[in-house]
Symmetry: C2
Subunit: 490 residues, 2 copies
């Protein structure tokens, strides 16, 4: 197996390539608002000039295993609810302000519902993130995201722009050929597939009837710079399914919505909400402006009959602690009774070693590893949000700065060794040329019953490649460290 | 016949409407570069918040008559060539620097070609512009554009955004209904149709064979703010027909292209050019930076075997003097022998009175009208470009400021009385609320033989509505006085 390096272009041809890339981006919505933006002006989103090589067999493996992961997390949330709640309760001690508040909000909603959440159906729009581990030619899971997964819209666009550049001849220094075989640059259909997931939520909310009378509520951050990624899903929802959508921030929920006989309505229009789609509420910062109002909004929505994407419990199942426990074959067999050996193998093949840093026997051994062999590990906080990982030699110092009772707020994860690739990243109109590493995300949607574990739909929903300079440790695109990319399969 | 006024929206709902409109525009390429732009950042194009009412029967009339106009201009260029050249020669006396230079370049090209232009085939991408004359319920032709007609790309987009807003409920204060019936908001297919015209040029260049080996050369202005309108056509050309395109300015032509055995090639890639599509070269200002290089480029291209869109002669046929002469029924019958009475009637119904201001008997009478009844007229320069019309009471003063020998550089045109409509225009994020008047443009493409008059293809190519404040006299969108709009047919 081998791949072409990205094409060598003359300076003049690179200038033409960059102009084509930027103008295509601006003409096709591959855009973001810049910091301090005006609402009428957008910039190209940071992307790579070229698609990045990724082994075809492992791309297919990642796609193939997605539905199994969807099922596994359904089992965690629905069939293993008591166990999940115990774990979350434990985690809450280490992360009172966020995991603790989510859990507290969940228990309040159960209480308000007289012992149960009023809407048993939940929609998961998940994304499982992997890196290619070159050493053993495998993909290894970085994390499993159960809330507010982003870039489903822009991912489709970056695939299209790389295809366009290839087809237009701009990747070929002689301009006469396509540099990459077209079939090796798959375009993620995530924008349509995620819209499809929301439409399925709408369908099951309406008792398995298609309806364009109920609407989808996007819960968004105020001043969201990545709103076009979300808007693209709204447009697909409207044009593919005729389903309308509204956008409200957590701060606006109580003022703009009302619950009547359990059903959630927009006050102004009295439109009934079938699905609440969270693109906010996933990180502590989303609640900081006005904690009382925003947490109250979350409780309010959870107490309605609208299908949540995701429910509080489903969001909580994305804790890294859960990911850690699920690396155990016996646990998977217990959670997915009757799982076939081949399916189990596929799941297990994606795991690196993940350790707790708690008082258990495994935890005590892990603490030793963290202090003595930190070069092989990354320390990750249990909470969501990115940007707070501690790498390698920095681990011992970081742990020692904390009382040992707080170490349990972290998991210790074996480092993956992805290959670096040459590529160029464009941010605004500046082109950066450094070695990059990439992370593959596979989207999946699953609609299920939290009470019974009954799965209504379980589908693949496209892919995402994000890349960052190999010299940087963090990969959040919006945070400014990375960019959207697409695979060139070899 | 009546129409709905645009919907009354609460302030809150208008804010939501504006946000949806702006974000759809930025996510879908309904954009322009702002003045002093950076290449990586675009603004929403100025458009109306609502579609503007236009009588359905007259819209259909305008669409219906387009192919007849295409034929008429083919006849002017091909069958009445001698007459056309005489008229142009006369006009050149009044407009040496532009019409004169175009004509001189044409004669040089003929000379270089040993008595004829090397490529007899010409592609016209035309746009006939009308206003609705309310008094007699008719459409009246403002002008017939034979070169560099713009907004074929953005017109499709503005139709789509109005449809989206309507479908999303944003035009309905209660958000529950579509305010306009969907069928009454036709989306112009101009982006695909103009690309189709260029593809037909490519097809006939290749002796009636589809080929993706030859390319289309877009001749563009440097620093074009409206480049997305053009790019959209390039994307359609590539994705609908697999035909590649390049962009060069007039200033770059001689350096970047070469002619070999009459054929035009791009030097860097040796790609053969089938069609030269001018989106520059239509106004004197396009030649001002470096007159020698730019006029030389024009001659160079005209002397190649590439099909020009348009040829110099076809561009010259757009002179207002020609438009004036063609308002005569006898002339039309002569130019279109065998024209059916009904077709003739349709053509004639679109004409207002247009007079020359020359030494002819008609010209002498017109001079009297211009000085004595200026309130019924607009004075238009023969040359292209917009922005120099003189209206009503300003006419006598303007004429008197010139020696009478120069009056022939103008035509005197009866004013049309379009209705005003209430609408709102958005520019950046500012919303202006004034009465507007609108101009309907109908696109057409025609591929023909300038030597024989043989018409290979003759097609409709969508529509465009442009609107401006009724208080302003000029309508050039890029010039900052107007905006792109779409029809709501009633």
């Amino acid at each position: 197996m081998s791949f072409k390096d990205f094409p060598t272009l003359s300076e003049k041809n690179q200038t033409i390539l960059v102009e084509r890339l930027l103008q295509w981006s601006l003409a096709n919505g591959l855009v973001m608002y810049p910091p301090n933006f005006s609402i009428h002006s957008a910039n190209n989103a940071p992307i790579t000039l070229f698609p990045t090589p990724f082994p075809k067999d492992l791309f297919e493996r990642a796609v193939d295993v997605q539905k199994s992961f969807n099922k596994l997390y359904v089992s965690v949330v629905a069939n293993q609810k008591k166990w999940l709640l115990d774990v979350i309760e434990g985690l809450s001690d280490f992360d009172k302000d966020f995991t603790g508040k989510l859990y507290e909000t969940y228990t309040k909603a159960v209480e308000l519902g007289g012992g149960k959440i009023p809407q048993p159906l939940t929609l998961g729009v998940f994304r499982s993130d992997y890196m290619y581990n070159e050493k053993d030619h495998s993909i290894k899971q970085i994390e499993f995201n159960t809330v507010s997964v982003s870039f489903g819209g822009l991912s489709t666009k970056v695939g299209q722009v790389h295809q366009y550049l290839n087809k237009s001849g701009a990747y070929d220094d002689s301009y006469s050929n396509k540099y990459y075989p077209e079939a090796d640059l798959p375009i993620s259909d995530s924008v349509n597939e995620i819209a499809n997931g929301l439409a399925q939520g709408n369908y099951f909310y309406n008792e398995e009837k298609e309806s364009t009378k109920t609407v989808v509520l996007f819960v968004v951050q105020e001043g969201e710079r990545n709103c076009f990624d979300q808007r693209l899903i709204e447009y697909a929802l409207l044009s593919n399914f005729g389903i309308k959508s509204y956008r409200l921030s957590l701060e606006q929920i109580k003022q703009e919505t009302t619950i009547n006989s359990g059903k959630l309505y927009l006050k102004d229009t009295m439109d009934e909400v079938s699905v609440v789609y969270y693109r906010s509420g996933y990180a502590p910062s989303d609640y900081e402006s006005d904690p009382e109002t925003t947490w109250d909004a979350r409780l309010f929505l959870e107490s309605s009959k609208a299908i949540k994407c995701p429910s509080l419990l489903t969001q909580l199942s994305g804790a890294k602690k859960i990911q850690q426990v699920l690396t155990n074959a016996e646990i998977i067999k217990k959670f997915l009774p009757g799982v076939e050996e081949s399916e189990l193998e596929k799941l297990l093949s994606t795991f690196v070693k993940i350790y707790p840093l708690d008082g258990s026997e495994q935890g005590r051994a892990a603490k030793k590893l963290a202090l003595e062999e930190p070069e092989n590990f990354v320390l990750k906080p249990q909470r969501e949000g990115g940007g707070n990982n501690v790498y390698k030699q920095s681990i011992p110092g970081h742990l020692k700065s904390l009382p040992e009772s707080e170490w349990g707020a972290y998991i210790l994860m074996e480092l993956i060794h992805p290959p670096t690739h040459k590529n160029k990243i464009i941010r605004n109109s500046d082109v950066y040329h450094e070695e990059i590493i990439s992370e593959l995300g596979i989207f999946g949607t699953v609609l299920f019953d939290e009470d019974t574990g009954d799965i209504k739909t379980n589908e693949n929903a496209g892919h995402l490649l994000r890349s960052k300079f190999s010299s940087s440790d963090e990969g959040g695109v919006a945070a400014g460290f990375g960019c959207v990319d697409n695979v060139y399969l070899y």
